[in-house]
């Protein structure tokens, strides 16, 4: 917008999304979930500075140290140092605390990537299927086909098919989520495309891509954002499951699922090896879901249980 047109600007003009942001900021769930998420993000970013050592460094002479043990650590390269082990060491003598903190990175990266991938791809599919009637049938039948396959099974099959890498893992986890996103977006496109302001745009010869981007897509964003957060949480969980089953990242990479898989054998003597990464996993997912619920309360008050409108 050019600055000349703003010259007679009176006191308080604000676009509608400002108010939405304010209401989000006031929502308890969004606050708590957001703060927790912020903690995890900070942990992931500043992992090297949080009293951690290389997560794959091991001292085979110090396996299964208890929580809070103090010991001299000699890694395979021969470097030796005194260290306090908050979460103890695992069966191979690796610092569990460092592994858990570094595991946050993998979980968040996978969560964000899967979330973005499925929201972008699913959003595109939904947008096209909703707006162009000719594409609706073919696209949505493919989505129906995808939905017919159990998500974990599909992911395992895809990972088995390709070599494991971040990209393949993301695709494998995102693909089963595509239909969910596509259906949500398609539904909101269908409901908004016959609304008068879209028809008015058609009458003003607005090109189709512009109608889609300017008038239709914004109306589909709130449900997309809500769906996106839930996918984020689910993706973290699925990644952990794949790791735990041994089809995810190779076991020397520190992911929460791998730590739990390693700790499983010693569960009788050292249950914290499973429980601690499990707690981190649970807390992350709770935080994400609180965010998602909050988003839904604010953006889509009619569908949430407590949102009683006068």
């Amino acid at each position: 917008m050019s600055s000349t047109t703003l010259s007679d600007r009176p006191e308080r003009i604000e676009p509608p999304w400002r108010d939405t942001l304010r209401r989000l900021g006031r929502h308890g769930g969004v606050r708590v979930g957001g703060c927790l998420m912020l903690l995890f993000v900070l942990a992931a970013v500043f992992a090297p500075h949080l009293y951690t050592i290389d997560p794959s460094a091991m001292d085979p002479t110090q396996p299964n140290l208890p929580m809070g043990a103090h010991a001299t650590f000699v890694d395979l390269g021969g470097a030796s140092f005194e260290r306090w082990f908050p979460f103890g060491t695992d069966g191979m003598g690796r610092d569990v605390y460092s592994r858990v903190v570094y595991g946050t990175r993998i979980s968040l990266i996978v969560g964000v990537s899967v979330c973005l991938a499925s929201v972008l791809a699913g959003g595109l599919v939904g947008l096209l299927a909703g707006y162009f009637e000719a594409l609706d049938g073919p696209l949505m039948r493919v989505m129906d086909g995808l939905m017919a396959i159990p998500a974990i099974l599909l992911a395992i099959a895809l990972v088995a098919l390709w070599q494991v890498s971040l990209a393949t893992l993301v695709v494998a986890i995102a693909l089963p989520d595509l239909p969910k996103v596509a259906r949500v977006v398609r539904a909101s496109v269908l409901s908004v495309k016959t609304v008068a302001f879209v028809e008015a745009a058609r009458m003003m010869s607005t090109p189709r891509w512009k109608i889609l981007l300017r008038h239709i897509l914004p109306a589909a964003l709130p449900p997309l954002a809500i769906q996106g957060t839930f996918i984020f949480g689910a993706a973290i969980l699925v990644e952990a499951v794949l790791s735990f089953l041994g089809v995810g990242f190779s076991s020397d990479i520190a992911t929460w699922g791998n730590i739990m898989a390693d700790g499983r054998n010693n569960f009788n003597i050292a249950p914290h090896l499973v429980l601690l990464p499990g707690a981190f996993l649970a807390l992350t997912i709770v935080a994400v879901n609180m965010l998602g619920d909050g988003l839904r309360d604010v953006l889509d008050p009619k569908s949430s249980a407590g949102g009683r409108q006068p």
């Binding site: 047109t5 003009i13 509608p16 745009a201 009458m203 003003m204 010869s205 607005t206 090109p207 300017r214």
Partner: protein
Amino acid sequence: MSARRPAGKAPRTVGSDRAQRREGPPEAAPVLSIENLSVRLPQGGDRPHAVRGMELRLDPGEIVCLLGESGSGKSVIAHAVMGLLPAALTIESGAVRVLGEDVAAMDARRLSRLRGRRMSMIFQEPMTALNPVQRCGRQIEEMLLVHGVRGRAERRRRVLEMLAQVHFDDPLRVYRSYPHRLSGGQRQRVMIALALALRPALLICDEPTTALDVTTQAEILRLLLELRARTGTAILFITHDIGVARQIADRVAVMRLGAMVETGPARDVLQSPQSDYTRMLIDAVPSLEPRRGGGRPATAPVLAVGGLCNAFRQGSWLGRGKTTVVADRIDLEIRAGETLGVVGESGSGKSSLARCVAGLAPFDSGSIEIAGAPAHRRRGPGAGRDVQMVFQDPYRSLNPRLSVLESLIEGPLNFGASRRDAVARARELMDRVRLPQSGLQRYPHEFSGGQRQRICIARALACEPRLLIADEAVSALDVSVQKQILDLLEDIQAQFGLAMLFITHDLRVAARLCDRIAVMQAGRIVEEGSARQVLTAPRADYTRQLVAAIPGGSPDQAAEYRYG
């Protein structure tokens, strides 16, 4: 008072009820008395109280109209009487007495025993008030069952009797029908049967005819009057329509912003209103007097529709779909500077016609020429700029995420204007539709319905159309706002020499604005002529029915009402 109590149990309520009524003198006992009622709005509303200091009294067998524009608090009163106020609204002070008992102070259980038995309510939209997955008969029967009418055969007999009373020729068929099998008027009659099944002393009608066609509306109003005479039920009738109030009310209470402006016998209030507000309301209703009788302008036709046919096919690829004809050999012509009104009831095909002309919907056969250029059957008119449209619902006509300026310059930018020119044009148009230029930076949610409709008109004009289509453009507005928008449309048409296709269900509005009127029924134009001829000397039977059904009467009657 002839409110017969139903047979069966629940004697306790009935007993205490009798005891109470014995205390006072029988003729003085009002069915409903609202005393100094104030209802608080939640914080952040546009005013502190939804209703403030309301006083109202209904005697047995009386019909009182609560008359007011949207936001006047009339529905809040109805919900307060039924004990159905939303949780956000609280009764701050005052009492609502139904047959002497204060509803406001009652707990939920006692209230639900009272509802249906002593008071019931019918709503604007009968489709949502009825349960869509239960047969109509069962829904009325359930009401009798809940209130303790014993015996399946007895209940069934009474349901059929009620359905016959609301003039169903074949009560058994209706008894077995699901709501979606019935028309809007039939559904409303089922609602009335349901509401009156237990012979309540008080019936509350919240805009019961607003969603109905005029002829159906006239039917329902007659039915209510007849039932009142037969059962002695007092009716609290809520409406925004002065014509309806005229037809049905014994007394009228005019509401504005939660306060009562004026009350008195209907005749007095509606013929010689004391307050300025009531007078303004009454004057804002267009009379049925046609606008002007001059000949047609000798200009070239802007729109020429020839032999237009269109049908919707519902159904499946397995064949045997249902076909609904929405346009059947329609011929129309509108010249520059001329307004053609297309009137008809819902389902007559008037909106489909507008959408075909606008190029928003394909048509099957025939031709549509706009300014001499034929429109494509599938794709509509090639150069979209010649035709623009103003839609019915001002709340859905503007993209809530775009500022007014962005909405207004979208069209001109599409047609190749520079941004500077488009912005200048937007500023000029804001003046033309009498909105401040500072509004350009604002977003639609900051505007009222009438103001939004002005913005929509400006948006249409920004493309410099030659034909303006207004599809029920004033139907969603309050009368006072409606008047302003009609005035504005008239001015703008004169200024720009536009041809206008004006779709409406309201003959009064058509009379106010249109030079010529075409009456549509079931996809056909049954009559077309000058507004004067169609309204004062209709040739088709259907037109005569429509004119007769207008609440508040024919042009002569209207004149009498207004000036008599």
